[in-house]
């Protein structure tokens, strides 16, 4: 059973917290492809946040290819793409470069960077959910 937690006292936006936790749960396999997740209305109600907040998180994840939103069938986790088209790949590699550059600029050494990336990949493979998701 997966749950997500939001904390309105945190500096990052609530929609970003929702999106980040769902992203981690999907990437780690805790939420398998085809799994139905609560509608915008139900998740907003249970979390006590506005409909727009959850809708914004869902739209973001839909654009990133994590969710499929259909009016009648509801919201489901999308299957991982079999192959990535060149443009999408270039965009994501660009994102990664920017993050790596920022980490380097923040003082992280090459070895430390490699360890961090390896840990994060291991987390995904182990299906631990990484940060955010409250397993339970």
């Amino acid at each position: 059973m997966n749950t997500i937690t939001v904390d309105r006292s945190r500096p990052d936006a609530v929609y970003a917290q929702v999106a980040e936790q769902l992203r981690q749960l999907i990437a780690s396999g805790a939420l398998a492809a085809g799994t139905a997740i609560p509608s915008v209305r139900h998740l907003a109600r249970d979390l006590g946040v506005s409909l727009n907040t959850v809708a914004r998180a869902y739209r973001l994840l839909e654009a990133e290819g994590f969710l499929v939103i259909r009016d009648r069938a509801g919201v489901t986790v999308s299957a991982p793409a079999q192959e990535m088209d060149g443009e999408a790949r270039d965009e994501l590699v660009g994102d990664l470069r920017r993050v790596l550059a920022r980490l380097r600029q923040a003082g992280m050494g090459a070895e430390e960077l490699l360890t961090l990336v390896r840990e994060e990949v291991d987390n995904l493979d182990a299906g631990s959910g990484g940060v955010g998701g409250v397993a339970g």
Binding site: M1, N2, T3, I4, T5, V6, D7, R8, S9, L25, L31, A36, I37, P38, S39, R41, H42, L43, A44, R45, D46, L47, G48, V49, S50, L51, G74, V134, A135, G136
Partner: protein, 378 residues
């Protein structure tokens, strides 16, 4: 004491013991961590303070029951059994309000001493909410609306065939009482009550089926399942209450029209009695079941019962006196109650405010019409 007085006072005595038993049960069936409408945290709410407070509550309940019985029966034995029933019931119910607030205040005094979940933090299950129970409630709503509007039509159509003076009430044995000049208002009053009250219960059933799920983290889904089971049970009890009330008032409406037309002498004892017995059995059974499940399915919760409650239930800032939930930013219309059994409305929600206003206005309108019909304003 005549037979009618014995029946009324017998019901009064039963009511005293029923209310007493429910009040004793309330703090014991609450979700872990909650005590008299305040979230204290799982450890603190189960500690020695809890035992002390429960003892005080039990003694207060026993005292209230005793005083209510003495007052009710004293007035009843003096021959005034109707005032005895009403005053005894008032003496039974009213003192629980200050007693609860006193207990709530004592628990609030304990709350700042413990580490509470940060305000504004909430959790939700990613299990899809099927909204079970809503189908039955929707069925009840449709039946209640169709039946009550049909009966209003039947009363209006039958108006011409009624005599000039008709009884406005029926006594305990179902015979017409309080003759007055007939009017269109008086003949549609009972089905109009049906149109307001029965659908109200069905709508409550619908809203409960879609109520917010306040879960306990780390419970392997046990908290969500427990809450869902409880929610279905409460939704069904509201829907069943709507249907039975509709049935009861529909039978009464038809019987009263037949009495007015001279086709019957009294309300149909078998129909009314049958409806009453079925109502008591079904609603009594439903009430017993939800008490057995515990508030929010507290007795079904498995996994990690010491994990903290989440969401609105754990946030003391969103609750006034532990009974009123007010949060304008929360889109939930119905939330699990902190005190007692069942659900309560989010008074900060616009839809909840509109629903309560419409119901209160309908109730006030019916009350004024009834008082006008029995000549209070004459």
């Amino acid at each position: 004491m005549n037979e009618e007085a014995a029946v009324v006072m017998g019901f009064f005595t039963f009511r005293v013991f029923l209310v007493g038993a429910i009040m004793v049960a309330f703090p014991r069936i609450a979700r872990k961590g909650l005590l008299f409408g305040t979230y204290l945290g799982e450890e603190q709410a189960a500690g020695p303070a809890r035992r002390r407070l429960l003892r005080t509550w039990d003694m207060g309940t026993a005292l209230i029951m005793l005083v209510a019985l003495i007052v009710g029966w004293s007035i009843g034995f003096s021959g005034r059994w109707i005032p005895g029933n009403f005053i005894g019931t008032a003496v039974l119910v009213t003192p629980f309000v200050p007693l609860y607030f006193w207990m709530h205040g004592k628990v609030r005094g304990l709350a700042p001493a413990v580490a509470m979940e940060p305000a504004g933090r909430s959790a939700a299950s990613l299990q899809v909410d099927e909204g079970h129970g809503g189908g039955f409630a929707l069925f009840a709503l449709v039946v209640c609306l169709v039946a009550s509007t049909t009966l209003i039509g039947y009363a209006i159509v039958s108006f011409r065939t009624m005599p000039g003076r008709i009884p406005t009430l029926a006594n305990l044995w179902g015979y017409g009482d309080a003759l007055t000049e007939k009017s269109l208002v008086s003949v549609v009053l009972i089905p109009a009550y049906n149109l307001v009250f029965a659908p109200f219960f069905a709508v409550m059933g619908l809203l409960v089926a879609q109520s917010k799920r306040s879960i306990r983290g780390g419970s392997e889904g046990g908290s969500t399942r427990a809450q869902d089971t409880f929610r279905v049970a409460v939704s069904h009890i509201f829907a069943a209450a709507g249907l039975f009330l509709c049935l009861f008032l529909a039978v009464a409406s038809i019987d009263m029209i037949w009495i007015w037309q001279g086709r019957a002498e009294s309300l149909s004892g078998i129909a009314i009695g049958g409806a009453a017995v079925a109502t008591i059995l079904v609603l009594g059974g439903g009430l017993f079941r939800i008490m057995w499940l515990g508030q929010g399915g507290a007795r079904l919760e498995t996994g990690s019962p010491d994990a903290p409650l989440t969401g609105g239930l754990a946030d003391n800032a969103r609750w006034i006196l532990g009974v009123l939930y007010v949060d304008r930013t929360d889109p939930a219309i119905m939330v699990e109650a902190r005190w007692g059994i069942g659900y309560t409305m989010n008074l900060g929600n616009r839809v909840a405010q509109v629903l309560l206003t419409v119901f209160a206005a309908a109730l006030l309108g019916l009350a004024l019409l009834t008082l006008a019909e029995i000549g209070v304003f004459a």
